[in-house]
């Protein structure tokens, strides 16, 4: 049984159909990438999974359970965490507060342990733990967003454009973290415009266009596929 199963999902954004009849699955332990141009419906798909948007039709199953109508905060309790587009760190709270809020659904001493683990993994966050999150650089904010999502100990991590607007060195660093997280067993659904990096870091890839899936396959094969290059740079 797949961890996440999306069937015939359609989502409207106002009067606009942002996602049409999309079906995809994510198996436990996988990294799956959604790529496609702006407005292709990638972010909408993630927001539907994390329950921020109401689907028009279709179903979303998580761990066998139908979550199509679940409120967003309940989805977190089931084990879905999202690092949203534009990072959305709580700029007016400290880094530590941001991380503690990441563990809002949990309690007990394990939270403290996870916190120090995060500071170990992201030393730059540890150095600045009392700083307001809004004062961090873009890359640091992205790390904070990922770390915050991890604080809920998710079964499925949704990452929306983690490389957006970041310098290449930082992008590389972040993708290192993604590989590392997966190696430790976290299942990841990744939305990314940096196609090459994303495919290198993932097992399978779905290519979206105008709200619909155009093709899919193993990332390792698609990475050299002419069609992807074509989709991005033409020929």
């Amino acid at each position: 049984m797949a961890l996440l199963e999306i069937e015939n999902l359609s989502v409207n954004y106002g009067a606009i159909q942002a996602v049409r009849n999309l079906s995809l699955t994510v198996e436990e332990g996988e990294v799956v990438t959604l790529i496609g141009a702006n407005g292709a419906g990638k972010t909408t798909t993630l927001r539907a999974v994390s329950r921020l948007m109401k689907p028009l039709s279709g179903s979303i199953r998580f761990g066998g359970r139908d979550i199509t109508r679940l409120p967003a905060d309940e989805a977190v309790k089931l084990g879905i965490a999202q690092s949203p587009e534009g990072r959305q760190v709580l700029a007016r709270q400290s880094i530590q507060d941001n991380l503690e809020l990441g563990a809002y659904t949990r309690s007990g001493p394990s939270v403290k342990a996870d916190l120090s683990e995060m500071y170990e993994r992201f030393p730059r966050l540890g150095e600045r733990r009392d700083q307001m999150a809004g004062t961090l650089s873009g890359g640091e904010q992205q790390m904070l967003a990922i770390a915050r999502a991890l604080m809920s100990r998710p079964k499925l991590l949704l990452l929306d454009e983690p490389s957006l607007g970041l310098a290449p060195i930082i992008v590389r660093e972040i993708f290192g973290i993604i590989r590392d997280l997966n190696a430790r067993g976290t299942t990841i659904l990744l939305v990314e415009q940096n196609a090459k990096l994303a495919m290198n870091a993932s097992h399978r890839t779905y290519v979206l266009e105008a709200g619909q899936m155009t093709f899919t396959g193993d990332s390792a094969q698609l990475v050299n596929d002419e069609r992807v290059l074509h989709a991005y740079l033409g020929g």
Binding site: P71, V76, Q82, Q88, L101, Y104, T105, R148
Partner: protein
């Protein structure tokens, strides 16, 4: 200005300003989360004072449907003065908080779930205020009620001390109000700044979407916010009531209006802003020279108007950056 008078004005401004601050905090909390101004907040303030009065005294005058009712009749286990003033104040504020929760459920939530124009919340809350104020009058009449003079125990009515050869006299009740307000602000500051609930509350205020992605139930926190708002409003009502009497069902209206000036001055939605705004307006009013006291009511609003033009986000507010 002589030092003694300066001290007196200062104490005055601080006392009334700290009440403005607690009252305005309730306003601003709701605004920070829902982006609406709850015009019923002044009515909740009034209710708080009446609730406390009811718990302390238990009977009313000759007007209204409740005339002749005695909550604590002689011979019953509650006869005499049943609740200490402090307990009654807390209970009264709690009841006011529950009323605020009720207001959110009945008058705001249905509107939100329909995605209606947030401006309509102004009208809806105005309706709620009208209902509350007139219900109070129906029940207990329009007269002035006052707390027993020993509400704060056997304190002298005024404290006096000499300063540079001049006598400075300060009303005890003002000192108490200031102290209670400070304690309240400290407690609230701790809850909002340090506790998990407070952090979650601020997360909801900053971004409801992000908050829900962290597993925070936004709806529940809206209720908590309304409760806190009502609690603070009700507490402020009781404090003002002890100093000046509960001057009829409309006695919160002035505060409702002043409170608006306070929260905008401090920065809409900003918690420290509400405190600063309250103190600034309280002090500004206290330092209006007596020959211009007729213009005292205009001070808060003139200040507000100017601040809005110079710094629309208020003293401590953040300016929203518009994305193109």
């Amino acid at each position: 200005m002589e030092l003694s008078q300066f001290i007196q004005n200062l104490m005055n401004g601080l006392a009334i300003g700290s009440v403005y601050a607690i009252f305005a905090l309730g306003y601003t909390l709701v605004f920070s989360i829902l982006g609406i101004i709850n015009f019923a907040h002044g009515a909740v303030f009034t209710l708080g004072a009446y609730f406390t009065y009811t718990l302390v005294v238990g009977q009313f005058e000759n007007n209204g449907l409740l005339k002749g009712v005695n909550l604590f009749p002689d011979g019953s286990p509650f006869s005499g003065q049943p609740l200490t003033f402090a307990l009654a104040t807390l209970l009264g504020a709690t009841l006011a908080g529950l009323v605020a929760v009720l207001i959110e459920r009945l008058a705001f939530r249905p509107m939100r779930s329909r995605g209606a124009d947030p401006l309509l919340a102004l009208v809806s809350s105005l309706g709620v205020a009208l209902v509350i104020v007139n219900l109070i009058q129906l029940l207990v009449g329009a007269e002035i009620y006052n707390f027993p003079s020993n509400a704060y125990g056997d304190t002298p009515p005024a404290l006096s001390f000499t300063l540079g050869g001049k006598i400075v006299i300060i009303r005890t009740v003002q000192v108490i109000i200031f102290a209670v307000s400070l304690v309240m602000l400290a407690v609230l500051g701790y809850v909002i700044g340090r506790t998990k609930i407070g952090k979650a509350l601020r997360a909801v205020a900053e971004s409801p979407t992000t908050a829900s992605l962290l597993g925070i139930s936004v709806d529940r926190f809206i209720l908590i916010t309304f409760f806190l708002s009502g609690f603070l409003g009700g507490l402020a009502g009781t404090l003002v009531g002890t100093a000046f009497g509960v001057a009829g069902p409309y006695f919160g209206v002035v505060y409702g209006l002043k409170g608006l000036a306070v929260i905008v001055l401090g920065g809409l939605g900003s918690i420290p802003g509400a405190v600063l705004g309250g103190l600034v307006i309280g002090l500004a009013e206290a330092f209006v020279p007596s020959q211009y006291s007729a213009y005292k009511d205009a001070v808060a609003f003139a200040l507000l108007f100017v601040i809005l033009l110079v710094r629309p986000q208020g003293l401590l507010g953040r300016s929203a950056i518009q994305k193109v």
